[in-house]
């Protein structure tokens, strides 16, 4: 959606279209917290969108992506206020970096992600960035639930190996 099209939508139309997107993104990360947290998170995101439409840059992605990223950022912020880790991922699934050259870790991680296939990146994003459950992931990616579980398992192993080859120690998974 371009900036002009965004401007042409009423607040009600924007809210109807994108509140569910924000809620879904927040729900995945805030699973385990009271339901109101996800709803309030979506409220904050929609408020920001409606009052600052000009901040959306179509060059960086679709409006849905913009809303999802905002929702994710807000959800993580709420988790920190709860002094909680993302409950969306079981403890044994989370991947933690415990060692490596500090100044390069971000670049290395992003480089490793670039080297994955599109499907692998999608699996990574949906599970690790948005805490999506297997069933939902399977529906989106055209896989079975069991297939998603095995694919995520393989991806975790692959990420650990690729990062270890580049001097980054990873725990978990």
């Amino acid at each position: 959606m371009g900036a002009e099209e965004l401007e042409s939508l009423t607040d009600e139309e924007l809210d109807a279209r994108y509140r569910p997107v924000a809620q879904a993104a927040a729900r995945g990360l805030l699973r385990g917290l009271p339901q109101e947290e996800a709803e309030e998170c979506a409220n904050d995101v929609m408020l920001r969108l409606l009052t600052h439409r000009e901040r959306y840059d179509p060059e960086r992605g679709s409006l849905a992506t913009y809303v999802r990223v905002m929702a994710r950022t807000e959800a993580l912020s709420r988790l920190r206020r709860w002094n909680s880790r993302p409950p969306s991922l079981p403890l044994e699934e989370e991947l933690y970096i415990t060692g490596g050259p500090e100044e390069y870790i971000g670049d290395i991680v992003e480089g490793v992600l670039e080297s994955l296939s599109q499907r692998e990146r999608a699996l990574f994003t949906l599970r690790f960035l948005y805490g999506m459950e297997s069933r939902e992931m399977a529906r989106r990616l055209g896989m079975t639930g069991g297939g998603v579980d095995v694919a995520v398992l393989r991806l975790r192993r692959k990420l650990k190996k690729l990062l270890a080859q580049r001097g980054i120690r990873v725990e978990g998974g």
């Binding site: 960086r60 992605g61 679709s62 849905a64 992506t65 913009y66 999802r68 990223v69 994710r72 950022t73 880790r85 993302p86 989370e94 991947l95 933690y96 970096i97 415990t98 060692g99 490596g100 050259p101 500090e102 390069y104 971000g106 670049d107 290395i108 991680v109 992003e110 480089g111 992600l113 670039e114 080297s115 599109q118 499907r119 990146r121 999608a122 990574f124 994003t125 949906l126 690790f128 960035l129 948005y130 989106r140 990616l141 055209g142 579980d149 095995v150 398992l153 393989r154 192993r157 990420l159 650990k160 190996k161 990062l163 270890a164 080859q165 580049r166 001097g167 120690r169 990873v170 725990e171």
Partner: protein
């Protein structure tokens, strides 16, 4: 370094790009990927040193070579100590043959399995008869004559095909598990004297997450399998499967009924544990098992990973192992941050100097004795170590100065109780003081760890 979730290292821009891609999958185009420094760095890290500008690539690669496993290191991956074992053996006899599961267990999400199938009633050698071809007629060329085998009742029947063995898995609901069997080893022994054949398959299957499943052999023999997780804490609780010596404890976990496959988990105790540098890992050395017959069998390693090794007795003898012993523990440490360095004074080509240094690494003390620079530009250091009896240096890696535009070769040799470490391409170091940080260390602790082979 504080533990942080991997996702926290991603930039906002990357998160947005990943989000766009994932939520559009599979219809999304990959889009234009800007040639970014990230891709360039990834290319460097792939060690494809075929760049036009070798210096630039090499500089980036060299920075990260520090973190790569040194020669002889056991590997960078930490073994999962979670084992799932069955509570029974699996065997069956059918018209098609006798089936026996030599071992079946899970280590983390890797399933290890060996199945043997024995077939009888195959043609024996004595059933074959050989007769010479009819005598040649006068003048006939004998070069093509050959001896043909055939049985009493006519030409030999085609060889009965050696037995094959198919292995499949079904989940709790009966659905077939479509799993790749890439890591497969196959053995076949055909005894023509007895008319028997044994066909064995060994499988290592990754991403195997099932605890209850059905093992299906040749489509007809079915074993319902239930695996139970072994509590790692129990390794150290049972006196019969743990032995202590020289400050190290060795725990044994049998992985099959007769003890021909087992895991050994070494760990330092008390003072040794305090002295061991962070990130150290341990392996058992010189492992042997003794069977009921009194025969001693050297054990071979398999699935060798830092912290937990698996062993098997070659040939998997049928007799039960009654005891296992190990003669040493290898303690290895890869240093993220070098704890110390050997100081090398300025040297001219052809010169060597005496060193008088003492480097205490906590678990061993290094004593650099001398250093030299050969006329050909090879820098060397000789060092001994201080330690208790039965404890010795096994391997030491140092970080050497850059040797640009040369293939660098590093040597580590043990001579008369001292280590000689050297590195070529060091001509540029002439006249300069040098510091050689310690990046990797392994030492051997001798001892005797013996225990009954439980199982």
């Amino acid at each position: 370094m504080e533990k942080r979730e991997l996702t926290r290292y991603l930039s906002e821009e990357t998160v947005a790009r990943l989000t766009e891609e994932a939520f559009s999958f599979p219809a999304a185009e990959t889009g234009k990927r800007k040639a970014s420094r990230l891709l360039a760095l990834a290319a460097c890290l792939a060690l494809v040193v075929a760049a036009v500008n070798f210096d630039t690539v090499y500089a980036a690669v060299r920075e990260f070579l520090y973190f790569f496993p040194g020669s002889g290191a056991a590997g960078e991956e930490t073994a999962s100590l979670e084992y799932w074992l069955p509570t029974q053996e699996y065997a069956a006899a059918t018209e098609g043959g006798e089936y026996f599961v030599s071992y079946l267990y899970r280590r983390g999400d890797v399933l290890s399995l060996r199945v043997e199938k024995k077939v009888t009633g195959l043609p024996k050698e004595e059933d074959r008869h050989f007769e010479e071809v009819p005598p040649l007629l006068e003048g006939e060329d004998s070069s093509g004559a050959m001896t043909l085998p055939y049985t009493e009742n006519g030409p030999a029947a085609p060889d009965r095909a050696l037995p094959e063995l198919s292995i499949a898995f079904r989940d709790e609901n009966g659905a077939e598990l479509d799993l790749p069997q890439d890591e497969r080893r196959v053995f076949a022994v055909h005894d023509e004297t007895e008319g028997t054949a044994v066909f064995a398959q060994e499988l290592e299957m990754e991403d195997f997450i099932w605890e209850r499943f059905t093992l299906v052999l040749d489509g007809e023999v079915e074993f319902p399998v239930e695996l139970f997780k072994v509590d790692p804490e129990s390794y150290a609780l049972s006196r019969s499967v743990t032995a202590s010596c020289a400050g190290y404890r060795l725990s044994l976990l049998p992985l099959n009924e007769n003890g021909t496959r087992f895991a050994l988990i070494p760990a330092p105790e008390a003072d040794r544990a305090e002295a061991a540098p962070a990130g150290s890992y341990w392996q058992a050395l010189w492992v042997e098992a003794v069977g009921e017959s009194g025969n001693a069998y050297p054990a071979e390693t398999v699935n060798s990973r830092p912290g937990c090794q698996e062993f098997y007795i070659p040939g998997l003898p049928e007799e039960r192992m009654v005891s296992v012993s190990a003669g040493g523990i290898l303690e290895s440490t890869r240093y993220e941050k070098p704890p110390a360095a050997i100081k090398v004074p300025a040297l001219e080509p052809g010169e060597e100097k005496t060193l008088d240094q003492r480097i205490d690494l906590g678990n061993i003390v290094l004593l650099p004795q001398a250093a030299g620079l050969t006329p050909e530009g090879e820098l060397w250091v000789r060092l001994a170590w201080e330690g208790e009896e039965g404890r010795r240096l096994n391997q030491l890696d140092l970080r050497w100065p850059d040797a640009p535009k040369e293939t660098w070769i590093s040597h580590n040799t043990l001579q008369e109780g001292a280590f000689l470490l050297s590195h070529n391409g060091m001509a540029a170091q002439a006249g300069k003081k040098t510091s050689l940080p310690v990046t990797f260390l392994s030492l051997v602790q001798e001892g005797q760890w013996s225990f009954p082979a439980a199982g």
